[in-house]
Amino acid sequence: MFQYEFMRYAFLASTFIAITCGVVGVYVVARSFSFLAHTLSEIGFAGAAFAVFLGIAPLWGMLLFTLLGSISVGELSMHSDQKESAISAISALFIGLGVLFLAISGSNSRYATNILFGSIIGVDRQGVIQLVILSIIVLLLIFLVQGQLNFDSFDHIGAVAHGIKTGLIGVIFLVALAMSVSIGSQIVGSLLVFILLTLPSSTARYLGRTIPSMIAWSVGIALIGVWAGLYFGFLTNWPVTFFISLIEVVIYLIAYFVHVVRHKL
């Protein structure tokens, strides 16, 4: 299947996306940001629709919306007592906006489907280069603050007690998360990008006992998902996103049941 150029691009792009989402996901789960990641993907949908309305590439609309969204939702969820209601309200608003932008831009429903459910097969050379560069930026951002990010994400109270600038670390992480949502959406779609951001890393929590080992498991499981998903998608012509979600869910459930059984016995 690698004789097809679009499959080579698809593999390259999804490899970088899986690595990025696998790494960032470990912190998403550690910081209990799964719900926020889900909301950001809906905000990303609105951003993509906005970009279609303006006639620019959906990726840039997504980046714009998710960056603004992650900072404001992040602030709101840190300071509001009704964190989940606040996030739900914002998420509802943005889905509404997304539908509106798609309607007034006059694009067909196929385009909406692509944004929501992904269209990795449609990634071209320029798209791959953009995704790779953005992935590297996210990974660099994480790497630069990793010591403090580890402490803050896995022991927030201890980090505060040690005088770590947890507010600043939080904002940097939200930027990295917003970018991951935007690039992840290119492959699995904005509706399902939270799969790559939460499931491999949730599975990794059962398997690893150190942060490096959790990151390794998380990236590995994300890679298995996207690679196998692309392969089965190529074989069957069914949606790649379907296979990726199925594989990630199955791996998660196996790890979960093994964990439960081990602790019951």
Partner: protein, 215 residues
């Protein structure tokens, strides 16, 4: 003196937590900060740790002080994945050189956690968790350590273990200890001096002469 507190006052809106506190701690002393719940013990500690700004007054640590601090609450649930060793290592540089690894091993030994270093924090007992919090703070090489209600949720055996460990740090390593608790019998057994915070003021004295009423 390792700590000097002068006229320290703290108010939240109109509520005065405490007013004009004056006390000092000697180097190598072992002091219990006593008082009923809600009298501002944790508030006082947060001020000393520069996590809160007092309304008025001042405090000064000795020039040579290196503080270690074990806060009252932690977010460690039963599913918390990191091993005891990794949890302690959160307070060490990201790149673990052999020197840093040796330091972590030393603190694991000191807190009797070496044999269970690979146990997940989520699966550790209350006493083991408290010792891990202490080990994490010890990585800062403190000569003064502040523990906030470290024994509050522990069973009697784990309490004794932790107190013996703190006593060891004080006697063998000369560490100054400020131990926040509302457990007077425990403080009587292990602490030399007391600070008693109640009714917005503080009293200081020898633990053996403590006659708090907790009203």
């Amino acid at each position: 003196m390792i700590l000097d507190v002068k006229d320290l006052t703290m108010r939240f809106d109109t509520k005065t937590v405490f007013q004009d506190l004056n006390f000092s701690l000697k180097e190598g002393s072992m002091t219990a900060l006593l008082g009923p719940n809600g009298t501002g013990k944790t508030t006082l500690i947060n001020i000393l740790m520069k996590l809160l700004v007092p309304t008025s007054g001042s405090f000064k640590f000795g020039d040579q002080v290196r503080l270690g601090y074990v806060p009252q609450f932690r977010n460690i649930d039963a599913e918390y994945p990191l091993s005891i060793k990794s949890f302690i290592g959160l307070n060490a540089p990201l790149i673990k050189t052999s020197k840093i690894k040796a330091q972590i091993k030393h603190e694991l030994e000191e807190t009797h956690l070496l044999e269970i270093q690979n146990t997940r924090m989520g699966e550790a007992s209350g006493g083991q968790k408290q010792r891990a919090y202490l080990a994490q703070a010890l990585l800062d090489h403190p000569n003064m350590i502040i523990l906030d209600e470290a024994t509050a949720s522990l069973d009697p055996v784990a309490k004794e273990d932790l107190m013996k460990l703190i006593q060891h740090l004080n006697k063998e390593h000369g560490m100054t200890v400020l131990f926040v608790t509302h457990d007077v019998p425990l403080a009587r057994k292990y602490m030399d001096e007391y600070l008693y915070l109640n009714h917005q003021t503080i009293k200081q004295g020898k633990m053996s002469e403590f006659e708090g009423d907790y009203e």
